[in-house]
């Protein structure tokens, strides 16, 4: 598990509008990479191109190359469905399936890959994923109750359990804590620290303390100007970015002078 992502010269378009311009970066396996930057700078847009989720919007398209180890995920024969089974995603708002129980939510993705899952295998996957998401102790007595009945923080951990149940190589997290209270946020941050043993993790966050706490490497995105595309300004070890940024823009942002 856990693979490296190599992006080179990636442009993201919505129709004719260039949203993100010329991003190249390497995302290391078994580490946490944080994307920071002000709202609308294209970091979430860029994140969604890493598992081709941007294609949900029919006008969105990319130019450039994204390699998952040695697989070009935009290769002509590559099925976006297969890409998403390798690269899982957790969203800003917890989105458990409202009609499903906690158990069914966790097993939903695993069932897609393996229709004839035995009851015992399914039970194992559910328990392992929920334990992995630090949720097992809280929900083990009500696995067949609706997932929507959990608290916001629990729902988000349920979504993480659901995403890890399919054993992806990479886990993308799009502001996973922005709708959560500080205690739930802490629970998720602890979880991220555990998950990086097995996964490549990319997290978009508005919260610079969070980026500093959880990530090994940080990428700073910014707009070239109003109406201009977002760009990758600087990327490096989190410590270095927050102590000795190379670019003036980065320094301005992390010291709170704008954004």
């Amino acid at each position: 598990m856990a693979k490296r992502i190599d992006v080179s010269g990636l442009h993201v378009y919505y129709g004719d509008f260039l949203a993100v311009e010329d991003v190249s970066m390497t995302i290391e396996p078994r580490s946490v990479t944080a994307f920071i930057g002000s709202s609308g700078c294209g970091k979430s847009t860029f994140l969604r191109t890493l598992n081709r989720m941007h294609e949900v919007n029919p006008n969105a398209r990319v130019e450039g190359k994204v390699m998952l180890d040695d697989l070009d995920i935009y290769g002509p024969d590559v099925d976006p469905v297969a890409v998403r089974r390798e690269i899982g995603m957790v969203f800003q708002r917890a989105n458990p399936f409202p009609t499903m129980s906690i158990y069914d939510n966790v097993i939903a993705g695993a069932k897609l890959n393996n229709q004839r899952l035995s009851k015992r295998e399914a039970d194992e996957i559910v328990e392992r994923s929920l334990r992995g998401a630090n949720l097992w102790e809280e929900v083990k007595d009500r696995l067949h109750k609706p997932g929507a009945g959990l608290s916001g923080g629990q729902q988000q951990r349920l979504c993480i359990a659901r995403a890890t149940a399919v054993e992806p190589e990479v886990l993308l997290m799009d502001e996973p804590c922005s709708a959560l209270d500080p205690i739930s946020t802490l629970a998720i941050e602890d979880l991220i620290a555990n998950l990086k043993e097995n996964y490549t993790i990319v997290i978009v966050t508005h919260n610079m303390q969070q980026a500093a706490r959880v990530s090994d490497r940080t990428a700073f995105f910014n707009l070239a100007g109003t109406g201009k595309p977002g760009r990758l300004i600087e990327m490096g070890d989190t410590n270095r970015i927050f102590t000795k940024p190379e670019k003036k823009e980065t320094e301005n942002y992390i010291t709170g002078r704008f954004g």
């Binding site: 949900v56 399936f97 409202p98 009609t99 129980s101 939903a108 009945g149």
Partner: protein
């Protein structure tokens, strides 16, 4: 509530309600109560008017199939065959229409290019605007003739299933034909309801499925259909209500006979609504009152169907 303008003293709520508010509240409650009154009035009318013939009836109303009511002495009539025919026709229509409607709705919302979807949605709505007598004409003049070869084939290959046992009616004016035309008639309402509810599936749910590596069909099964289930059932029940009560098309297509026959390809059976329409002009003696009794049964069936649907929708409320 209170203003903090320094030039005028803060306005104190007096507890008095504004006159416009009172008028509006009363009008709204009045309109709500009116519905209940109308429903109760119809029910009372049906019950009172049917009592006359039900008291005089010499046989069991619910188990008898014959209808000899247009007399002043010893009427003998029963609703058994009619109720059976009504439920049978509506069930056929529902079974045929619902899967097709769900398919059309899914196509419109998730598969069709935007302009095709808009056009198709418009055509489906148009279908709903065609009067039922036109459907009846189309059914009896055109459709039943076209269906003969299909019925023959059905009897040949599936005749061993009692439903499709022969001999096939020579005219094609059978329960299956009536059910088919009813299915076309209720298709738009079920489609429209399903389409609306499929449109409302939150993007977050659909993306959750896609992000797990679901194909489009798997996404529909995982996120769209479970979410849309109550709406689809609601649409199906509206359709069923229309199919149960539909008069003109059935009256024109079926060649009626008052028997309980499960053989869909043979002539026979009749529905309550069509029976009332056909018998009313000639009803004498206890005839009218007996027909009202049949109407009461139709009323009860429709009510039961609606309550059943509500029960189904509410049962899994915890999950929606």
């Amino acid at each position: 509530m209170t203003t903090t303008d320094s030039s005028t003293p803060a306005r104190v709520p007096t507890g008095r309600r504004r006159i416009g508010d009172v008028i509006f509240a009363n009008t709204a409650s009045g309109a709500g109560a009116l519905i209940l009154l109308i429903l109760a009035g119809v029910a009372a009318f049906l019950i009172i008017q049917s009592m006359d013939s039900l008291r005089a009836n010499t046989v069991n109303f619910f188990t008898t199939t014959d209808w000899n009511a247009s007399t002043r002495e010893d009427p003998a009539f029963g609703v058994a065959a009619l109720a059976f025919g009504t439920v049978l026709a509506a069930t056929i229509a529902l079974l045929l229409a619902t899967p097709v409607a769900i398919g059309i709705a899914l196509f419109i919302v998730y598969y069709a290019p935007r302009r095709v979807a808009a056009l198709l949605g418009y055509i489906v709505d148009l279908l709903a605007a065609i009067p039922s007598v036109v459907y009846g004409l189309w059914g009896v003049v055109f459709l039943v003739g076209q269906l003969r070869p299909f019925y023959d084939a059905l009897e040949n290959y599936l005749g061993w299933i009692p439903l499709f046992a022969g001999p096939v009616s020579a005219t094609g004016r059978t329960m299956l034909s009536a059910g088919l035309v009813l299915a076309v008639m209720i298709l738009p309402i079920i489609t429209a309801m399903s389409r609306d509810v499929f449109h409302q599936v939150p993007q977050a749910n659909r993306e959750a499925a896609l992000a797990l590596g679901a194909t489009r069909w798997e996404m529909i099964r995982m996120a769209v259909l479970p979410f849309g289930r109550p709406g689809v059932i609601g649409g199906a029940m509206l359709g069923l209500g229309r199919a149960l009560g539909e008069t003109m098309a059935v009256a024109m297509i079926l060649s009626p006979s008052l028997v309980i026959s499960p053989f869909l390809l043979q002539s026979g059976n009749q529905t309550i609504a069509a029976h009332i329409a056909l018998q009313y002009p000639e009803a004498t003696g206890y005839g009218v009152s007996a027909l009202i009794a049949a109407g009461l049964v139709l009323f009860a069936i429709t009510l039961a169907v609606n309550m059943g649907a509500r029960f189904i929708v509410a049962r899994r409320k915890e999950f929606s």
